[in-house]
């Protein structure tokens, strides 16, 4: 049975193919749950979402219910949201402020740092449950980078910084946009799509589909006096108008292109932006500030954290599979701290022209992915998808498919154990001197 082969990586003919079984098989999903969602770093939330002591957010991360919270001492925790007694959730609100989490089923109560502190009928146990069970469990590893919290359910996995590697600079470019830092705005885009989660991975770092799927958005931008992505004339930090794709170890990848016009921007908004840029220039140098404000970037951090950093919005998105053909998506908007209300409004309005389940572009992506999933019904006859665009080019453009190939090779390594070589070298679009210091 050759169904074990998911990838054809033909370097001689520059052909790259993905077996469509990877998108439809429940068996593959079970392996993904173990080998990917059980062993890689998964995004939980940003520290700005739990600013005060006892604040919490409940999330599903890689299929596990968790409480992402700040305990009564101010320490950030991630607790598995399941009572040690018989499994019920100990917290059923999506967010809030609580010192104690109590399971409503039999009343076992836990401090927000996890310790089991009350068991009704405690005297009926020979060994006290609190002594036996201690408290709510946490993922094997919890770590953060620039305010972004991740978990890993594998105690043996390499640490977060090693995992992110050089790709972390794309988080820096987002996090450094204000000297006061960045924060997640209130309000979440939470929606489902009837397609395999890997289709959304591909779509999130796919510059090729922009012209065909988002044609109407491009026309709208032009009508509002803005230049759509990849259609400008400027070169920024050596990156041509057509942009470029780049890969990093561990399956992370980025496509970047010169950032273009700002639809709906007022003079005040442009001033605020110029101010942020001037501050960045002073702190990190012109080259870094150029990369930050002059380039747009779509990045994937393996397996499913997406950071889309455009001049008119900064969107964070993560998603996890419900089944082989259904995915739950959560999207947030990031805002530089310390900017005026007009700027915040502008960023929101601009970003909303594109993103989210009611945006003027995202629903068309969802439509494309759902139609692809439908198309996989013919996988018995048409068994492979093509991801070859730009393969073999010394510098792939933003609308080539290096990013997906990089991601798929890591996916393949984790699922089958087969290690395939990368195509080229990682590239960071700024001079790192002074940034690491």
């Amino acid at each position: 049975m050759t169904a074990e082969q998911f990838i054809i990586d033909d370097r001689e003919n520059n052909l790259f193919r993905v077996n469509r079984e990877a998108f439809t098989s429940e068996d593959v999903l079970q392996r993904e749950r173990k080998e990917i969602f059980g062993k890689t770093w998964l995004y939980v939330g940003h520290e700005s979402e739990i600013p005060g002591k006892n604040d919490f957010q409940t999330r599903d991360v890689g299929g596990r219910p968790v409480i992402f919270n700040r305990d009564r001492h101010g320490d950030v925790r991630v607790l598995l949201n399941t009572c040690l007694h018989r499994g019920s959730s100990v917290c059923r609100h999506s967010s809030g402020n609580a010192k104690i989490f109590t399971c409503f089923y039999h009343g076992w109560a836990y401090r927000n740092s996890g310790e089991l502190v009350n068991v009704p009928g405690n005297e009926d146990y020979k060994s006290e449950p609190a002594a036996v069970y201690k408290g709510l469990q946490s993922p094997a590893q919890v770590d953060s980078y620039r305010g972004l919290y991740f978990v890993n359910f594998d105690p043996d996995a390499p640490d977060l910084l090693t995992f992110l590697g050089e790709a972390r600079y794309f988080i820096d470019l987002a996090a450094d946009q204000s000297p006061e830092g960045v924060a997640i705005l209130e309000g979440t885009h939470k929606y489902s799509l009837k397609a395999n989660w890997k289709l959304l991975v591909e779509n999130s770092i796919d510059g090729y589909h922009a012209k065909s799927v988002h044609h109407t958005h491009f026309e709208m931008m032009m009508e509002l006096g803005a230049t759509p992505p990849m259609l400008g004339k400027d070169t920024v930090n050596g990156i041509a108008p057509a942009g470029m794709g780049t890969e990093f170890p561990n399956g992370h990848a980025t496509l970047m292109y010169p950032a273009n016009g700002l639809p709906l921007a007022t003079d005040s908004v442009k001033q605020t932006l110029a101010g942020l840029r001037a501050q960045a220039e002073q702190a990190f140098g012109e080259n870094y500030a150029n990369a930050m404000f002059g380039l747009a970037r779509n990045s994937v951090f393996f397996p499913s954290l997406i950071l889309i950093d455009l001049s008119f919005g900064l969107t964070l998105r993560t998603f996890y599979p419900v089944s082989a053909s259904e995915t739950l998506v959560t999207g947030w908007q990031i805002i530089p701290k310390g900017v005026d209300e007009e700027f915040v409004k502008y960023r929101i309005d601009n970003a909303l022209t594109f993103w989210g389940p009611a945006g003027l572009a995202t629903p068309d992506d969802v439509e494309a992915l759902e139609q692809a999933q439908k198309g996989f019904g013919a996988r018995g006859e048409v068994g492979w998808s093509d991801v070859s665009k730009g393969m073999g080019k010394p510098v792939p453009a933003a609308n080539d498919e290096l990013q997906m190939r990089s991601w798929w090779r890591e996916w393949n390594r984790r699922i089958t154990g087969e290690q395939l070589p990368t195509e080229g070298t990682s590239f960071v679009p700024f001079d790192k001197q002074g940034v690491d210091a």
Binding site: G187, S192, L224, I348, L352, G356, L360, V366
Partner: protein, 167 residues
């Protein structure tokens, strides 16, 4: 919101209902240019995020926060065959009910109503439910919409994962 207004309304509920039913009919029949004509030039059309139904969509990551320009663009886009999520157009049937006049001044009338929208598209049949909040401005013998806010009574968009049509 449930208390009965002490000052009797000059505008009748049936006049408001007539207007809201007319609006619903225009959208269901995809007469979106005519629908756009129901709005003032300083209008807003808002849909808050499902996890922050009471928030200001101008200052939070909402689902929709359109001013007049974006509302026009939304309609222009939806009528193009390249608006893939809505081509072929979805079929919707909306029921507007529980209409209440909350407040009325010479300049504007504040109205709330419930909605149920059934939508069929590509073999799927979805339901969207929630509450409308309108700020209406009297004009001739009818009204214009200065603000329309659709607050979804969903805790997330599932199984219906997209709002690619007008709600």
């Amino acid at each position: 919101m449930t208390s009965v207004s002490e000052t009797p309304s000059i505008t009748t509920r049936s006049a408001i209902e007539e207007f809201l039913f007319h609006e619903a009919g225009l959208i269901d029949r995809w007469r979106l240019e005519e629908w756009l004509d129901l709005f003032t030039l300083d209008c807003t059309y808002e849909v808050p995020a499902t996890d922050h139904p009471d928030a200001d969509p101008g200052l939070t990551w909402s689902l929709i926060h359109d001013g007049r320009t974006m509302l026009e663009q939304r309609v222009i886009r939806l009528k193009k065959p390249e608006a893939h999520a809505e081509f072929p157009h979805s079929q919707t049937s909306r029921i507007v009910g529980n209409v209440q006049i909350l407040d009325e001044t010479d300049e504007s009338i504040s109205v709330t109503a419930n909605f149920i929208i059934h939508r069929a598209k590509a073999g799927k049949f979805d339901t969207y439910v929630g509450r409308y909040e309108y700020e209406l401005v009297p004009r001739n013998s009818s009204f214009l919409i200065r603000r329309k806010r659709a607050v979804l009574a969903h805790d997330m968009l599932d199984p219906q994962g997209k709002i690619s049509f007008i709600i």
